[in-house]
């Protein structure tokens, strides 16, 4: 309960703070627009319009993600602040260990990833649902009213564009920049490149990577315009079903790369672009003096741009552990921000146990520490 109240209070904080007030206003406007558009879509009975209007719901999710990432940002700042304060009056820390296990030991950065994944996944599933609904609607064969079609689609377009370009969303910006291109993007860039072969002057305008969400919106608008045109020409429901299928596939195509990118982070994987650098660092570290091998190398992305690593290092028995640790750390700390290195030696007990048994035979009193003894038994 305490968590939820803190969450609520942070939301209130967001509302009160000046930079996110505009976001709140946009949210409310988007909600109202959503309701209007969806009533119109329900009235028009056109699945293509519904498919396009589901962009509005995605916009709401987008804004939610933006708020969340702003919250995470604030949270991090305060944490760092607190940590600095803690380090100042550290004297109490030793005697009264205030360290408790927090619920999220890695902080809240991963919330963003989950938010992105959730919103993209929801829109994928929504598109999937629309796919099924449009087939059902085609079978039912009801009449479609075209009068709302244009207005609703233009309204959706405006809302979507406004949200995409005026709500600052770090999480989505990162995902859009880092995930693979959707098929829509690839085809459009291919077409544009072909155009630029003929008209080189346009290359500055056409060749940069296009925001996939904006592209989706443009294409959707085009489809809906042609859909309403064809419906007025009297081509019947087939056109509408086709348009909604196309919309659904475009939504799939746009969302799937982002969902894959964020889902892979959630699955505790190494991001593909990091692998090369990581391998280089590991290779360098494995050549250090005293290092025999690496085991259980786990390097995974905590959130966008943060890599967490843990590795077991087997080192030579006569090596200085702290020195090896420091060297390996200095190699790997450039890649992974949060790092844990476990150093172990084979048969580290043997010389000691040897002396120990000797001691036992000669002088059994020396077994100074019973806990060590217990532990020795447990380990072997």
């Amino acid at each position: 309960m305490g968590k939820s109240t803190s969450f609520l209070s942070s939301i209130f904080y967001l509302i009160r703070s000046s930079h996110s007030r505009s976001t709140v206003i946009i949210t409310i406007a988007c909600l109202i627009a959503c309701v209007i558009i969806f009533t119109m879509a329900g009235q028009a009975n056109s699945m293509a319009l519904q498919a396009f209007c589901s962009l509005c719901i995605f916009d709401l999710l987008f804004i939610g993600t933006a708020l969340l990432s702003a919250w995470v940002f604030e949270n991090n700042n305060t944490r760092v602040h607190q940590r600095n304060q803690n380090s100042l009056d550290n004297s109490t820390l030793l005697f009264i260990p205030t360290q408790t296990i927090s619920t999220f030991s890695y902080g809240t950065a991963r919330f963003e990833v989950l938010a992105v994944f959730t919103s993209t996944m929801l829109s994928i599933l929504g598109a999937f649902f629309i796919l099924k609904e449009s087939i059902e609607k085609y079978l039912e064969n009801e009449t479609i009213h075209t009068e709302y079609l244009l207005f609703a689609s233009i309204l959706t377009f405006i809302v979507h564009m406004f949200v995409i370009y005026f709500v600052r969303n770090q999480a989505f910006d990162h995902v859009i920049a880092a995930s693979a291109s959707s098929w829509l993007q690839e085809h459009v860039s291919d077409i544009f490149q072909n155009i630029c072969h003929y008209i080189p002057g346009l290359s500055r305008l056409l060749l940069p990577r296009i925001n996939p969400l904006a592209l989706l919106c443009w294409c959707g608008l085009t489809i809906l315009f042609s859909d309403s045109f064809l419906l007025r020409m009297g081509y019947g429901n087939f056109v509408d079903t086709l348009a909604s299928l196309l919309m659904a596939f475009m939504t799939f195509g746009t969302m799937v790369p982002m969902a894959i990118y964020s889902g892979k982070i959630l699955l505790q994987t190494t991001p593909a672009p990091m692998i090369g650098q990581l391998d280089k660092c590991l290779h360098e570290a494995s050549r250090l003096d005293g290092v025999l091998e690496f085991r259980h190398e786990h390097f995974w992305a905590l959130s966008f741009g943060t890599l967490v690593g843990s590795v077991h290092v087997r080192c030579r028995r006569d090596a200085d552990e702290q020195l090896v640790l420091a060297h390996v750390w200095s190699k790997l700390a450039n890649v992974a921000q949060i790092l844990t290195i476990h150093i172990f030696k084979d048969d580290w007990l043997r010389p000691q146990s040897h002396t120990y048994t000797q001691n036992q035979t000669t002088n059994p009193v020396i077994s100074n520490n019973p806990s060590t003894y217990n532990n020795f038994v447990v380990i072997t």
Binding site: Q99, F129, A326
Partner: protein, 787 residues
């Protein structure tokens, strides 16, 4: 087959400058123009003669010409296998030509040219893109996207002709399906077939032409060796043409006997020739007409089968394969457009002339097969598609700009050999059946799919839309099962370089996705219910009840089989699925309450169904199975709702009960999904598991030489595995290995399997400062020492 096409496309023969081969180019253009012209004449001839007869005559004359030119049988060594294969090829060829001509009668020349005059290269490239997913590395990514676009354009073009071409004249003909009296036998069968499928007449023609096109493509590419065996394409062509004439002789004789063609055809020749060549023909004597017929057929056979072939052969040699086919397709399409303009005009003029004395004849036929929006669209699309698909593969030197900074540049070399489909199916089946979870999901999926297909088939048979759409709904639900099944399979894969912890997390993620799926379902049901609440529609309930009861039965099987797994894991604590924090006992009472009014009955029923599935949301539970289970549960709720609402409608006529039921159901689905969502989200967010207590860390602190600890991270990898990492600061005289093993022992007791312990001394930080290394998260622990 595909290898040859990619060879064709990537062959970089030196393209000769256009000036050298201009004469051949002009020849090609001329022959293609003439072929278009010939096709238009053929179409008009076909109006009055039987398809088989025309084809026979044309091939006969063409084979006479070819025999004279080529003398194919002079140096032909007879070989049994070759002859057998030749005959096979010839039969296919004849069937294709018949289909083609018949399609011509149905669709008109313009559409026939658009559909049929594609080179094999284009079609093979289409198939190559569609059916070979493995991207060979030689072919660049960008080439592939343009190919895919070409295929999409091609399909769109076909769709444009098929669906958006309102060929009104032909649709009117559907009312009098025996309009073409000449083609009685085939036509009759064909009309039966099309009326069975339910497509319009010219659409049937489109389908025929497409079939012919694909067949031609297949036999051409599969018989390339045969061509070489016989001795060159020209000889091959001559032989097959002769053989096809021989093939056609018996059929055409039978046709002659059956239809008794000649007496009818005399007056039809009369009318036809008047319409086709109105300017040249003024007299109408019988002998003149037969002469004209023969002349025109000779003319046609030369144009269609002889000159076109030879010019194409020459052009292939002199120009280039790809270039020839590209240009010929373009020329054919272009000339067909022009010719169809001219033709429509001339037919109109002819009609204007003939209208004066024959009032009511072909009044409505002069607009037949005119240009329409669909055709124009299709023409544009076909031109694009041909351009994109027959573009030669070229090595681009420039860098590609539009990508992100992290293109898939590394470790993409895992080129697997394509395995046979049977092998894949067998191994995956074995994997599925290896473990109980996936086996259960698989069996239930099979039951569900069977039910769906029975429903779909029955719906199609009785022509009931409700059943069909319900079947689609079931199919949609099956996808959740498929996701669950795949996740259950994946979770057993071995760890890889990228998935260093193995694939155990996939199950959690799939549980989360299934939860989201249910949220979407709940949302849409809610949305629809609100729409219906305002305006309750009339519902026909007579077959709904039986279907929903059957669906309920199927889902109950699933619930029992899945809940069994839960039941033996935990006792009977049912705590989730309800919003109110009621204790199980209260719920029990609630469900056994006898509510007098019917809504309560609904409520109670669904409670009962939840009660049967005793599952609690502890972290050790498998999120994937839970997601699948919840999905089945939601389905069951849905069918319960349908049963109740249809009963209410049937007996009381309360149409409002349907949206109310669906409202309840959607809310219940949403609430039952929340715990699953929360659990799996927490696992995904790396929440510290609840069984890691502070006491454990306290015990670490009490160890000898341990000063403090930092960076303690413990999280659930999947339902069964906890991963942990911790930094421990010890005094300078402590032994690292001893402390490590002690800490390991302590944490092993807390069921942490995958543990990483970093032991730090003051020296470590001194070393780090000496190395000038990045500190990472170490700032705090270093402060501990610096103090």
């Amino acid at each position: 087959m595909f290898d040859s096409i990619s060879d064709d496309l990537s062959k970089t023969t030196k393209i000769r400058p256009l000036g050298d081969v201009l004469h051949i180019f002009i020849l090609l253009i001329l022959s293609k123009l003439l072929k278009t012209f010939a096709l238009f004449i053929t179409y008009d001839l076909l109006k009055s003669f039987h398809v088989i007869l025309i084809l026979f005559l044309i091939t006969f004359i063409a084979s006479i010409f070819l025999i004279f030119i080529q003398r194919p049988f002079s140096s032909f060594r007879f070989n049994k296998i070759i002859i057998f294969r030749l005959i096979k090829y010839t039969i296919c060829l004849t069937i294709i030509r018949l289909l083609w001509l018949f399609g011509l009668t149905l669709c008109g020349p313009l559409r026939t040219i658009l559909l049929f005059e594609h080179s094999d290269i284009v079609i093979l490239a289409c198939f190559h893109v569609l059916f070979s997913s493995s991207s060979n590395l030689g072919q660049q990514q960008q080439e592939k996207t343009s190919r895919i676009r070409g295929v999409v354009f091609f399909i769109l073009a076909i769709l444009g002709i098929f669906a958006f071409d309102n060929d009104d004249a032909r649709q009117r003909m559907l009312d009098h399906p025996e309009g073409h009296t000449r083609h009685r036998l085939i036509a009759h069968m064909f009309y039966r077939l099309t009326s069975l499928i339910g497509v319009a007449d010219h659409k049937g023609g489109v389908i025929l032409l497409l079939i012919a096109l694909f067949m031609r493509c297949i036999i051409n590419s599969s018989n390339q060796k045969l061509v070489l065996d016989v001795g060159g394409p020209k000889k091959f062509y001559a032989i097959t043409t002769c053989l096809s004439t021989v093939c056609l002789i018996p059929i055409s004789f039978i046709m002659l006997l059956i239809n008794n063609l000649f007496p009818e055809s005399i007056d039809s020749v009369y009318t036809t020739v008047q319409t086709t060549l109105p300017s040249t023909i003024s007299s109408s004597s019988f002998s003149n007409n037969t002469m004209l017929l023969i002349i025109s057929i000779v003319f046609l056979s030369i144009l269609i089968f002889v000159s076109d072939f030879y010019v194409e052969q020459v052009a292939v040699v002199k120009l280039e394969r790809l270039r020839t086919f590209r240009y010929s397709t373009f020329i054919m399409i272009g000339s067909a457009i022009i010719a169809s303009f001219l033709w429509t005009k001339s037919v109109t003029i002819a009609n204007d002339k003939s209208v004066s004395f024959t009032k009511n004849i072909i009044q409505n036929e002069f607009e037949e097969h005119a240009l329409s929006g669909g055709v124009v669209f299709a023409i544009v699309m076909f031109i694009f598609a041909t351009d994109l698909l027959s573009k030669p593969v070229q090595q681009r030197s420039g860098a590609f700009i539009g990508y992100s900074q992290d293109g898939m540049l590394v470790f993409n070399v895992t080129q697997q050999k394509p395995q046979s489909l049977l092998f894949i199916i067998r191994t995956s089946l074995r994997e599925i059946l290896a473990e109980t979870d996936s086996r259960k999901i698989f069996y239930f999926l099979c039951i569900n799919l069977m039910f769906t297909f029975v429903e779909l088939l029955y719906g199609a048979w009785t022509n009931s839309l409700g059943l069909i759409s319900d079947g689609f709904h079931m199919l949609f639900d099956c996808t959740a099962l498929v996701v669950g099944l795949y996740a259950a399979l994946m979770s057993r894969w071995k760890p890889t370089r990228v998935f260093s912890y193995g694939y155990g997390r996939v199950e959690v993620l799939s549980g989360f996705v299934n939860g989201l799926f249910l949220v979407v379902v709940a949302f849409f049901v809610f949305y629809e219910a609100i729409g219906r609440l305002i305006d309750p529609p009339e519902i026909n309930t007579n077959r709904l009840l039986a279907v929903s009861i059957a669906g309920f039965a199927v889902n109950m099987i699933g619930i029992f089989s899945f809940s069994h797994a839960h039941a033996h894991a935990h006792g009977g604590g049912s705590s989730c699925a309800m919003s109110q924090p009621t204790t199980p006992k209260e719920q029990h009472n609630h469900s056994h309450d006898e509510h007098s009014h019917s809504h309560g009955g609904d409520h109670g029923h669904s409670h009962a169904s939840i009660q049967k599935s005793s599952h609690s949301h502890s972290l050790t539970d498998n999120a994937n199975m839970k997601g699948v289970f919840l999905h089945v549960l939601a389905d069951t709720l849905g069918s319960v709702g349908v049963i109740i609402s249809s009963l209410l409608i049937q007996y009381f006529g309360w149409y409002i009960s349907d949206p109310i039921c669906s409202l309840f159901i959607s809310i219940m689905i949403f609430l039952s999904v929340l715990p699953l969502l929360k659990d799996s989200a927490m696992t995904l967010l790396l929440q510290t598991p609840s069984n890691i207590q502070y006491e454990i860390l306290e015990r670490i602190l009490k160890l000898e030489n341990v000063l403090s600890y930092s960076d303690e991270h413990f999280w659930n990898l999947s339902s069964s595995m906890i991963v942990g990492s911790i930094h421990i600061q010890i005094s300078n005289n402590g032994d690292e290995q001893r402390v490590t093993s002690q800490v390991q022992a302590i944490l092993k007791e807390a069921q942490i399997q995958n543990l990483t312990v970093q032991v730090e001394k003051q020296v470590f930080f001194n070393h780090l400062t000496g190395l000038n290394s990045a500190l990472g998260q170490l700032a705090t622990s270093q402060n501990f020492f610096n103090r």
